[in-house]
């Protein structure tokens, strides 16, 4: 998705000299052509995330449209107060881009697991939080968030090509794959692929619909309400802690709208992970894979 991001940004920068990319010394092998082509629109601030957000905010205050790129926790947790006070309170066009959502960098260890970012970013008022599931949506998301005033957070992962879609990305409107069912799986990020795998595994047994909930905050509430209201069972699936992420968003909505829907949350069970493994391994051991999803659906519906 990183390549999709820089491709989209290159197109934007070509037509608008106020588009600026700030990196916290990451993006080796990807950003060099951008740097060469757009001097004055690319700055590597070095390994200094707190001042990175301050500098980005100053640039945005002077009219720049800024993208700030780093790895998961470095562009969120390390500089959270700068995001809140400098960028959010001043409603600046600062777009935070995290490479490595969830367990993307699984084997690198706990420091590189971005597993609280969605909750933390969405609690900041008016921050648009987006986690695309594929590269096509990533390109379109980049072009969408720059049009919005204020702060956005874009959570990127590796695209394994499992979530190709012909549906265009529409900010705030989740991508709905309906299949005439009473069971809906709502997922965010590349883990949507596990929902599609479950769909295949359940062929001939049970139909399920899938909602790719790429815009976690600032989404169109009435569209989501109208989409989910008819379901009897909803399962949320996210590579994130159970508290505060997608599961919480949907459970809040169900309660506030007084919907009579059973909700099950598949998420990390509120712990920091020390076990080493790649993304698919860590999904499996944390119960976030297609098999676990299939078993959950079967047990909820009492299917043998």
């Amino acid at each position: 998705m990183r390549t999709a991001f820089i491709n989209a940004l290159t197109e934007l920068a070509k037509n608008d000299k106020d588009v600026v990319l700030i990196t916290g010394d990451l993006g080796f092998g990807t950003f060099e052509p951008f740097e060469e082509r757009f001097p004055g629109q690319y700055f590597n601030v070095g390994i200094a995330e707190q001042s990175m957000i301050g500098i980005a905010s100053g640039l945005a205050k002077a009219g720049k449209k800024v993208f700030v790129y780093s790895i998961g926790n470095f562009v969120t947790l390390r500089c959270l107060e700068q995001i809140r006070n400098d960028a959010c309170y001043h409603n600046l066009n600062v777009n935070l881009v995290c490479q490595g959502g969830g367990f993307t960098y699984g084997a690198l260890g706990m420091s590189h697991h971005a597993t609280e970012d969605l909750a933390i970013m969405r609690v900041l008022p008016e921050v648009t939080v987006v986690a695309p599931s594929n590269s096509t949506h990533t390109e379109q998301a980049v072009k969408s968030v720059i049009m919005e005033s204020g702060v956005s957070y874009l959570r990127l992962e590796k695209d394994l090509g499992e979530n190709e879609t012909s549906t265009p990305f529409k900010l705030g409107f989740p991508d709905y794959k309906s299949s005439n069912s009473d069971v809906l799986v709502i997922a965010i990020g590349s883990i949507v692929s596990e929902a599609f795998k479950a769909q295949t595994l359940l062929t001939g047994i049970k139909k399920i619909s899938v909602l790719d909930f790429h815009t976690l905050s600032q989404y169109d509430e009435s569209y989501v309400f109208n989409t989910i209201k008819k379901y009897k069972l909803i399962i949320t699936l996210e590579e994130h802690q159970k508290v505060g992420g997608l599961g919480s968003v949907i459970s809040d909505l169900i309660v506030e709208k007084q919907l009579c829907i059973k909700l099950k949350k598949m998420a990390i069970n509120n712990k920091l992970i020390s076990e080493v493994g790649n993304q698919s391994y860590l999904r499996k051991v944390n119960g976030l894979d297609a098999i676990t999803l299939v078993n959950l659906i079967k047990s909820e519906l009492e299917i043998d």
Binding site: L59, K61, D86
Partner: protein, 268 residues
């Protein structure tokens, strides 16, 4: 000098505001009054008429807790009516203890958590360089605030990018939350540290208006300027000067009278 008259009025407003609001940080507000007065009367190209002009000079108060005297300075130089100052720290008002830009003309940036102003000012200065503007960006930081690492990150960056349109003023009143900065976590030799980071470091008496004006106007090419302005916390009020307790207390009726009389006659 007009700035001296403004400074006196700002000091009186500040003690009044803190008294009325039963608020804190009067010592920090008073130590920077002369710096603000010179900036807003003689140096900064900013006025109520050019607040949306990208060519205006920018000022950011990073030590947001001293906000009372910034509000008072802005009122005195005409950004909003002086009567508005009576709303400081009152329910329903925009004039928070730590400086906020919302609904207050002239405040460029909201602060309150320390170590935020210099990075933001660095971004503003960089934007001016990118777009070829010749305006200045001035940021006022506290000395204790320099313990925040983000300042040094930003200073590295500003020196690397030769941001000579950036002026950092350090309100060196030497007092922080409990005691002297040097007895907390020593900053000295501060000038050498700043020099080593690649900025042009100057040191002056932060209450000497002529020296302040001269120094603001003497930036060098290719380097950010850092001015260590040696000040007295609580400057101008006899019983507040160099007393850490006035980081917290507000003057009562009797103390307020003494403060006014001290400010009127001008302490040496």
């Amino acid at each position: 000098m007009i700035s001296v008259k403004i400074a006196n009025r700002v000091r009186k407003h500040s003690v009044d505001m803190v008294h009325r609001g039963k608020s804190s940080h009067i010592g920090s507000a008073l130590s920077m009054v002369d710096i603000l007065a010179v900036l807003y009367t003689d140096f900064l190209n900013v006025s109520p008429d050019n607040l949306d002009d990208p060519e205006r000079d920018y000022f950011i108060l990073s030590k947001g807790h001293g906000g009372a005297s910034l509000y008072a300075t802005l009122a005195e130089v005409g950004f909003f009516p002086v009567e508005e100052l009576s709303r400081h720290y009152q329910n329903g008002s925009p004039f928070s203890g730590h400086v906020s830009h919302k609904g207050i003309p002239g405040v460029e940036f909201s602060t309150g958590s320390l170590g935020h102003g210099l990075p933001v000012a660095t971004g503003l200065a960089l934007a001016s360089k990118i777009d070829g503007r010749s305006n200045k960006v001035v940021v006022l930081v506290g000395d204790g605030e320099l313990m925040e690492g983000a300042n040094w990150e930003a200073l590295l960056f500003a020196a690397h990018h030769r941001l000579d349109n950036l002026i950092v003023v350090v309100d060196r009143n030497r007092l922080q939350s409990f005691k002297d900065t040097e007895k907390t976590v020593a900053l000295d030799p501060l000038d050498k540290k700043i020099d080593a980071f690649g900025a042009d470091c100057l040191e002056i008496d932060g209450h000497d208006h002529e020296a302040l004006y001269r120094t603001f106007s003497s930036t060098v090419e290719g380097k950010p300027t850092v001015i260590i302005a040696n000040t007295i916390k609580g400057k101008g009020v006899s019983y507040m000067e160099n007393k850490v307790i006035w980081h917290y207390k507000f003057p009562d009726e009797e103390q307020l009278k003494i403060a006014h009389s001290d400010i009127s006659r001008g302490l040496k």
